[in-house]
């Protein structure tokens, strides 16, 4: 009985959501859905490598420093009339710059690597907040930190499409060296793979991926979406490509389900997506423990 009621309610929510997609006044909803589906592929693939290589901390530093680019872009648009410099493009450029810095530090620093990476992390955020403070007019940084569905623009979709294609093509082309470097960088180097360059490439791909969903889930929450789907997929995946596929489907599932539920409950999308991912992750962990004991 309870299941039947739940199924009916679910159906109503879905119907409402898909009807809303056709509404010209709610075009942002359509943009958010397209962005979710476009971003799932690179996010799932790059997230798998980040989790497998255990560099989530570096990815978090890159994501947070994107606020610097967002703030500077907003300031320059206002102060210099550089209207071509969208916040997403600013985020993209600053994330790529911090990925290069983080990569250099993690490869070259002999000591206190975590402190140097932490400095890059907070410097980006500080620059972003100062730039937003000096921008004329009211800009709420909360939207960029935790996501705001209204921030998703048509131009962002085009940029996301191009970036998503670049990431997917690069990873398909460089799958073997990237996998080899993630598993055993020393052996890869001995086989002639330029391990350091491949590692830096992976960090750049991470930078591009986290920026894709800045507007929808925000730079703070995007790390959860980058790491939780691969962590769940790793519980059953027997190889890296199985983990990549699982992560892509899980990312798409969490994003679309989060969109539908947040629309239905009239709450922010980012937190719903993340809580959904965390709930499934915890449930899978519990099931794994339960079955291993049984």
């Amino acid at each position: 009985m309870i299941m039947n009621i739940w199924t009916v309610m679910e159906g109503i929510v879905m119907v409402e959501f898909f009807q809303a997609l056709k509404d010209p006044d709610l075009v942002f909803l359509r943009y958010a859905l397209i962005l979710s589906l476009v971003a799932s592929v690179p996010l799932g693939a790059v997230g798998t490598l980040v989790v497998a290589r255990r560099i989530s901390y570096l990815a978090a530093a890159i994501a947070h420093s994107a606020l610097g680019g967002i703030g500077v872009a907003l300031y320059l648009r206002e102060a210099m009339d550089w209207l071509w410099l969208s916040p997403m493009l600013g985020a993209l450029l600053s994330a790529m710059l911090s990925a290069a810095l983080v990569g250099w530090v993690s490869l070259c620093a002999r000591e206190r690597e975590d402190a140097a990476i932490g400095a890059i992390w907070v410097s980006g955020m500080a620059i972003g907040l100062l730039s937003i403070y000096h921008t004329t007019g009211y800009v709420d940084p909360m939207g960029y930190l935790f996501g705001d569905i209204l921030l998703v623009q048509a131009a962002d979709l085009q940029l996301a499409g191009v970036v998503g294609l670049i990431i997917t093509a690069t990873l398909l082309l460089a799958y073997r060296p990237v996998m080899a470097v993630c598993f055993d960088a020393e052996f890869a180097a001995i086989r002639g793979v330029r391990s350091r360059w491949v590692y830096l490439l992976l960090l750049q791909m991470t930078a591009l991926s986290v920026v894709l969903l800045v507007s929808l889930v925000g730079i703070v929450l995007v790390i959860a979406l980058l790491t939780l789907p691969p962590a769940i997929a790793s519980m059953w995946a027997r190889s890296l490509w199985q983990m990549v596929l699982g992560s892509i489907f899980l990312s798409a599932g969490f994003l679309v389900a989060g969109l539908v539920l947040s629309f239905s409950w009239d709450v922010p999308t980012g937190p719903v997506v993340i809580l959904l991912a965390v709930s499934v992750y915890l449930a899978c962990l519990a099931m794994g423990r339960f079955s291993s004991r049984g």
Partner: protein
């Protein structure tokens, strides 16, 4: 010097330091084709550094490292490497076949492995009695099986020089013996260079030992004495000779 007479590994006055800390001083030795040699020495004595120099992962501060008469980078396609298995992330999702396929990679390998490479990898796993495990996650293997997969990966490149770092660590005696038999069966002419702390294994397996502790000295295994080991490890070691002429070690003492 012809290919046949020149040493496979040649170190001439090699010097290396991390900052102001000298790790290797004036290291000189040759390893010739078909020889099996083991590097022994205390922790921090420079074995790993020497291995990295030979593999071309680092460059010497002074002197020269030559493999087959060329630099390590130029001759890397002739070198197979088996790292310590403890260096791997146990949660990394990778199948035995995928690990093995890494061995056939070249610097410019892109995309995915070809059908021919997959067939070669399966044949190599078959020759190591690992074909049934091809689709198994690497992390679910036993220590001995993992070591065998890493050897299979190294042999994929059909190397003339095989370098093994601690091949007996986390492996039982029988598995270690099977592993060495397998290596010898697959490459009788191959030159083998190992790093090991297991003096018993060293005595059973190789005729020549490179003792490394900042300086490098080469000894025939049969000539290893308590004095040599005391000097090398800076600790009193006692060698006990068994009938089967194997070295054995217990609690800091070496029996030979």
């Amino acid at each position: 010097m012809t290919e046949a007479t020149q040493p496979v590994v040649c170190l001439k006055g090699v010097h290396f330091a991390y900052g102001s800390q000298v790790v290797l001083e004036d290291a000189d030795f040759d390893i010739h084709a078909g020889e099996s040699v083991c590097m022994v020495g205390p922790n921090g004595g420079g074995k790993s550094t020497l291995l990295k120099l030979i593999l071309g992962l680092i460059k010497p501060a002074g002197g020269a490292v030559l493999l087959f008469g060329e630099s390590p980078l130029q001759s890397r396609n002739r070198v197979g490497y088996v790292p310590q298995q403890v260096a791997f992330d146990p949660l990394f999702p990778i199948s035995v076949l995928e690990v093995c396929l890494m061995g056939s990679m070249r610097g410019r390998s892109l995309g995915w492995a070809s059908k021919a490479e997959r067939a070669d990898a399966l044949a190599m796993l078959d020759s190591m009695q690992l074909a049934d495990l091809a689709r198994t996650p690497f992390s679910s293997l036993s220590g001995g099986q993992r070591q065998a997969v890493l050897v299979a990966r190294a042999l994929m490149a059909k190397p003339d020089l095989l370098v093994l770092d601690e091949p007996t660590a986390h492996v039982d005696v029988a598995s270690a013996a099977r592993l060495m038999d397998g290596i010898r069966a697959l490459g009788e002419d191959m030159t083998v260079l190992m790093v090991s702390h297991d003096l018993s294994f060293v005595a059973r397996t190789v005729p020549k030992v490179v003792c490394v502790n900042r300086c490098v000295h080469v000894h025939p295994t049969a000539e290893l004495s308590s004095e040599v080991l005391n000097q090398l490890y800076g600790h009193e070691l006692r060698m006990v000779q068994h009938d089967h002429e194997h070295l054995d070690s217990h609690g800091g003492h070496c029996h030979g």
